[in-house]
Symmetry: C2
Subunit: 351 residues, 2 copies
């Protein structure tokens, strides 16, 4: 899911997103509740209408943004008190409030509020955050069923699985979350301080304890390699700001690895960003031109790299789906890794 | 002509420009010679190829940018010495050098170098700048005929008409310029300090002394009203940064006058920018959404307002062409003015 934090995927129109292969978007409850406000969005017919996007939208619950972006004031059983990153105003988010905001937005998939924590953290606090998340999941799901979206349709509800950095706790939390009548699961609180190996151990622990017939979404990950590793752990859905954020910093994901368009090596290059890509940026423009646009501060550079990176991620996921259908994910992931350098200028893994 | 200063029209792709009704673009010799450099652009096949724009491109000569953007060091008969606005490096532009840069770029229409001045200025200095411009016109045209574009085709050459703020001098300069074997004329050095009434008197003086069979381009103008007034003076071509620059400041041109999207009046507005416009921004998005995007600093706001404004200008020019064909320009201009407010919030002229 490309990330449309503020109700837009950084410079792209709905038709760009379709052309890039996008099937579902993510947007942020936290950001939209603060600006322009979920009541305003409801009064304008909901987020789909506002953005002119008629595909599915998943909204997160805001728990992670409150933890990572704000001056967190207090976490109580009732909810979270925090200061807005925009103007410092005191704000409150509870399970009920999060679901109300998400109903106002009219997303297709709403996510329950969790008590997010950063690692490392002592075992008792991890357990406490996990238990609270379970209680908040129940409150979120119960309240969500009383709410109406602007379009009048029922939202699908995903419950967040927490459990910190302990695989056994992750497994227990997943099993107990799965008892709830929800449509899918969001695995949260990963990539928050633990090693990559731990991330996948914990993901495997949680995903393995979830029922296979309901989709699993791994929140906030990751690199192209992360997506393939996550899929191998049983993950169906991802969201990540890397393709859009890195585009603004001049970084393009390509089938040969990341390209830093600011690199002097591209000054006279008449090659496209990625010869294996069919996006508009690769069909029309050379690296030399995109480098010039980026260095000149032209927003067409951001737009084209964003379009390309979203296309790259969607193409990767489509290829992974086909590989799964062929029963061949493992060799697809190996081939991908062999030609993919982790940094611009590095030799490929196969060299 | 939408302005593509640095080899791009602010956030728009070639297909956006086509959709907006663009038939010809302007790009800036001064900016491109400094960054990325005209030699680099030639080596990549010229500006059309770089930008992936297959329609006509007019390049200006750089004279006005040297005057307005740089630390001007000296104007000698040989040429102009100035300091780059990018890094302060000492640079030199002569009639010959300007034409060489424009040949490297491979524009379809190149413009001769002029000695630009700002008003007010004493009569002797205006005369001197005009006489020098005539000598530079001759040198520019002579040298241009020795040059090859990357594509191998001949450039059309427009000669600049100067003459400062004196209508008689303007007329004389236009007549003497018209003796040169050029394909069209660029009227320069207007809207540089004189009143609007003077602008049109001077434009009329120059245009009236130019042969009707060769196109006349009024450089660097203007508002929608300016375009209609210029057309009434016999002008065929315009360039202006207003549609693109104002878009980035949140200002949209509409059939009812300018709309400042930051205005609180648009907070809950479900209206498009302009109900009479068929651009993607007006087809898809409400003012409330565009206002949210602009206030949130989202580049989609800049892109959509730019697309809209370019569409508005192209639509205006297309309507003026049809009115001329009907022999009805005067009443078209009057009707336009009656519904067009000069500032957001003002009553229309007819009220």
């Amino acid at each position: 899911m490309p990330v449309g934090t503020q109700g837009t995927v950084k410079g792209l129109t709905p038709s760009d997103l379709r052309a890039a292969g996008t099937r579902i978007l993510l947007s942020n409850t936290y950001h939209l509740m603060l600006r322009p406000g979920s009541g305003l969005i409801r009064s304008l017919g909901g987020l789909h209408r506002l953005m002119a996007w008629d595909g599915p939208i998943l909204t997160d619950s805001g728990g992670y943004q409150v933890l990572s972006l704000t001056g967190l004031v207090s976490v109580r059983e009732e909810g979270v008190e925090f200061r807005s990153h925009l103007d410092g105003a005191l704000e409150f988010l509870s399970p009920e409030r999060s679901m109300e905001v998400q109903a106002d937005l009219g997303s297709d998939i709403a996510v329950t509020l969790d008590h997010a924590v950063l690692l490392p953290l002592d075992a008792a606090a991890q357990r406490e955050a996990g238990e609270r998340t379970l209680r908040w999941t129940e409150r979120s799901l119960r309240h969500a069923r009383t709410l109406a979206t602007p379009g009048g349709y029922r939202q699908f509800l995903f419950a967040i699985v927490q459990g910190g950095g302990d695989a056994a706790l992750r497994r227990e939390m997943a099993e107990r979350t799965a008892h709830h009548p929800c449509d899918g699961f969001a695995i949260g609180g990963l990539s928050v301080g633990e090693t990559k190996e731990e991330t996948w151990d914990l993901t495997r622990a949680a995903a393995g304890a979830l029922p296979p017939e309901r989709p699993r979404y791994l929140m906030g990950m990751g690199t192209p390699r992360d997506l393939l590793d996550g899929i191998a752990c049983g993950i169906d859905l991802f969201d990540c700001v890397l393709p859009t954020r890195n585009a603004r910093n001049g970084m393009a994901f390509t089938s040969e690895g990341p390209v830093n368009i600011r690199n002097a090596a591209h000054t006279r290059s008449d090659r496209p960003l990625d010869p294996h890509c069919a996006c508009e940026a690769c069909a029309l423009f050379t690296r030399a031109y995109l480098r010039h646009l980026h260095l000149a501060g032209e927003i067409l550079a951001h737009r084209m790299l964003t379009l390309h990176n979203v296309t790259f991620y969607q193409t990767l996921m489509a290829a992974a789906r086909r590989a799964i259908e062929r029963g061949d994910l493992h060799s697809y992931a190996r081939e991908f890794t062999e030609r993919y350098r982790e940094r611009d200028g590095d030799p490929p893994a196969s060299a």
